[in-house]
Amino acid sequence: VRRYQRRVFAVAFRIVRRADVAEDVAQDTFIRAYRALDRFEVGRPFGPWVVRIGANLAINHRRSPKSREEELPQGHQETPGRDESPLEQLLAHEAGAVLENALEALPQEQRAVFVLRVYESLSYDEIAETLGISPGTVMSRLSRARQKLRVLVLPYLSRPGRLARGSEG
C-alpha cells in the first residue's frame, strides 16, 4: 500500500478533483485490489494494475449522484518554480489555475483518458482496456480533451517555450 498509495491517490485526485474523495477512492482501491489479488497475474507489474482499479473507482465515483452534490474543488495551489522570474511565476500560477478549471470542466470520460495518458503514460490500448472502451474512442476522447484544454490555456501557451518545462520544441 505504502509503495503505491501516492500514485493511486494522485490519479484519483486528478479524476475526482477533491483530495478527501481521492483518499477514500485510494483506500477503496487497495481494498478492491486485495480482494482481487487472485486475478492479478504474478510477474506483471503491480503498479499499473492497481492504478487502473483506482482510475475506474474514481470514474465511478464521479458518475455517482452523490458526487454531483458535493462541493467543487478548492482553487489552484501551485507553488511556482524557483528558477522563474516573478512575472513567469505569476503567469505559470495563473495558467495552472486556468488549467485546473478547464480540467474540472471537462467531461469526466475525457478527463479520465487525459489523466491516464498524461500522468500515467498508458498506451491507448492500455487505457482502452482499463476503461472498457475501444482504442478509437480513447483516441477521439483524448484528442478532444487536448483541443479543449489547449484552447482554454492558449493565452499562456502562445509563446512556445515560455511556460513549458522540458518541452522539446
Binding site: A19, Y34, F40, V42, F46, L99, R150, L157, G166
Partner: protein, 377 residues
C-alpha cells in the same frame, strides 16, 4: 501544402499513429508552421498539466493503516450479524493483536545482542529486525504430545512426497467441509492474515474493543489451566475439552513464552479461545494463499509463517507452517539475492533440521541447496 493534421496531432504526440501515418504527419509538420505551433502547444499543455500539484493526503492517518483497519473492521463487524461469528471475530482480533502487542514488548537492544543473530545484517528493516529478535528463540519441536489429535493423529509422517501430498490436500478437504459460517470465518481470517503483520501504527478497530489493555486482568502463572480466564492462548483451543487437553502442553508452553500482558490481553476473550482452532485453520489457509512478488513480501511472509508457528503451537499445520517459513525465506533470497536473506535461510534451515523428522529435514536441506545455487544465466 498538404492538408492540416491538427486532428492527428494528439496521436502523433503520443506516438500512437501507424508508421505510415506518422511519417505523413511528420512530413506535413516540416512544411506547416500552424500545425507545428499547435503541436508545440499540445506539448506545453501536457507539461503544464504534469506540473499541477497534487495536494497532500489527510494528515494524521496513514492509508495503509486505514486499509488494514477497514478490512479487519469488516471482519469484526461480522459479529453483529452472525452470532456464530462472534467468537471467531474475538479470536481473530486477539490473533491480529498479538503480533502488534508482542512487537511493542520486544526485547531491549541490549537483550537482542545476545540473541545469536548474524553479526552484520546489512540494510534489514527495523521491522524485520525486531521480528527476528522476537522469534529468535528456538521454536518448539513438534512432538506427539504437542499435537492435537484431530488431524495429527492421522497417519504418521512418511516420505516427503506423502507429506507434500498431505499439505496440498488439507485446504481442499477443508473447503469441502466448510459450512456457511465456516466460510464466513475463513473469509474473515483470510482478510486478516493476508494483510500481514507489517508494523501497524496501532491496533485496528475491534482489537482494543476486544481486549482493552487497561482492563485486562493480570495473567496467571504459566502453570495455570488454559481454560482459566486471562490465561488461555487464543490459538488452538476449540472449546471441546478433549481437544483442549491435547493442546494443554502446547498452550502452557506458549503462555510461558509470552509476556504476561500479552497473555492477559490475548486471553481476555474466552470465546476467542474456544474458536481458536478455526482461526488457525483459516489463518493457515490465508497465509498459504498470499502472493509474493518482491523480496519484502517474501520476508514478511516468512515472518508471518513464523508468527503463525509461534501463536498456534498446537496446530496440526505446525510443521507445514515451519516449512513454509523456510520456503518464503528461500523465495526472498531467490528474488533479490541479498546475502542477509541467505544467512537467515541457513539459520532457519539449521534450526528446522535439528527438530524435524528425517524426511522433512532432507527436504529442508534440499531447499537450502537449491536456493544457494547461483542463478542460471
Amino acid at each position: 501544402m498538404s492538408t492540416h493534421v491538427v486532428e492527428r496531432l494528439s496521436e502523433y504526440l503520443d506516438s500512437e499513429l501507424e508508421p505510415g501515418e506518422h511519417a505523413e504527419v511528420r512530413a506535413h509538420l516540416g512544411e506547416c508552421t500552424d500545425c507545428r505551433q499547435t503541436l508545440e502547444e499540445l506539448r506545453q499543455l501536457d507539461d503544464l498539466a504534469r506540473a499541477l500539484p497534487v495536494p497532500p493526503g489527510r494528515p494524521g492517518t496513514d492509508l495503509a493503516t486505514r486499509v488494514r483497519a477497514s478490512l479487519v473492521g469488516e471482519a469484526v463487524a461480522g459479529r453483529k450479524r452472525l452470532p456464530q461469528a462472534l467468537a471467531a471475530a474475538a479470536a481473530l482480533a486477539a490473533v491480529v493483536a498479538l503480533p502488534w502487542v508482542i512487537l511493542q514488548q520486544s526485547p531491549a537492544p541490549e537483550q537482542s545482542a545476545a540473541l545469536n543473530e548474524p553479526a552484520a545484517l546489512p540494510s534489514y528493516t527495523d521491522d524485520l529486525r525486531r521480528e527476528e529478535e522476537l522469534l529468535s528463540e528456538p521454536v518448539p519441536a513438534p512432538s506427539a504430545s504437542d499435537r492435537p489429535g484431530v488431524d495429527s493423529a492421522q497417519a504418521p509422517r512418511g516420505s516427503a512426497a506423502e507429506t507434500l501430498a498431505r499439505e496440498k490436500a488439507v485446504p481442499r478437504a477443508r473447503g469441502r467441509e466448510l459450512t456457511a459460517g465456516g466460510k464466513r470465518r475463513e473469509e474473515e481470517a483470510r482478510e486478516t492474515y493476508a494483510l500481514g503483520y507489517v508494523a501497524p501504527a496501532g491496533p485496528a478497530p475491534g482489537m482494543i474493543a476486544e481486549a482493552p489493555v487497561a482492563d485486562a486482568p493480570a495473567a496467571p502463572p504459566a502453570s495455570a489451566s488454559p481454560a482459566a480466564p486471562g490465561a488461555p492462548a487464543p490459538a488452538e483451543a476449540t472449546g471441546q475439552s478433549a481437544i483442549a487437553s491435547r493442546t494443554d502442553v502446547a498452550e502452557k508452553r506458549a503462555n510461558a513464552q509470552r509476556p504476561a500482558a500479552v497473555a492477559a490481553r490475548a486471553g481476555s476473550s474466552a470465546e476467542g479461545a474456544r474458536v481458536g482452532g478455526s482461526a488457525a485453520d483459516v489463518g493457515f489457509s490465508a497465509l498459504e494463499s498470499r502472493t509474493v512478488t518482491s523480496g519484502d513480501e517474501a520476508r514478511r511472509l516468512r515472518r508471518d509463517w513464523r508468527l503463525f508457528v509461534r501463536h498456534f503451537p498446537g496446530s496440526p499445520h505446525l510443521d507445514d507452517a515451519r516449512f513454509r517459513a523456510l520456503e518464503a525465506g528461500a523465495r526472498a533470497y531467490d528474488l533479490e539475492r541479498r546475502p542477509d536473506d541467505l544467512v537467515r535461510l541457513r539459520k532457519d534451515v539449521e534450526e528446522y533440521v535439528a527438530a524435524a523428522p528425517p524426511a522433512r529435514a532432507e527436504a529442508a536441506r534440499r531447499l537450502l541447496d537449491e536456493a544457494s545455487r547461483p542463478p542460471s544465466p
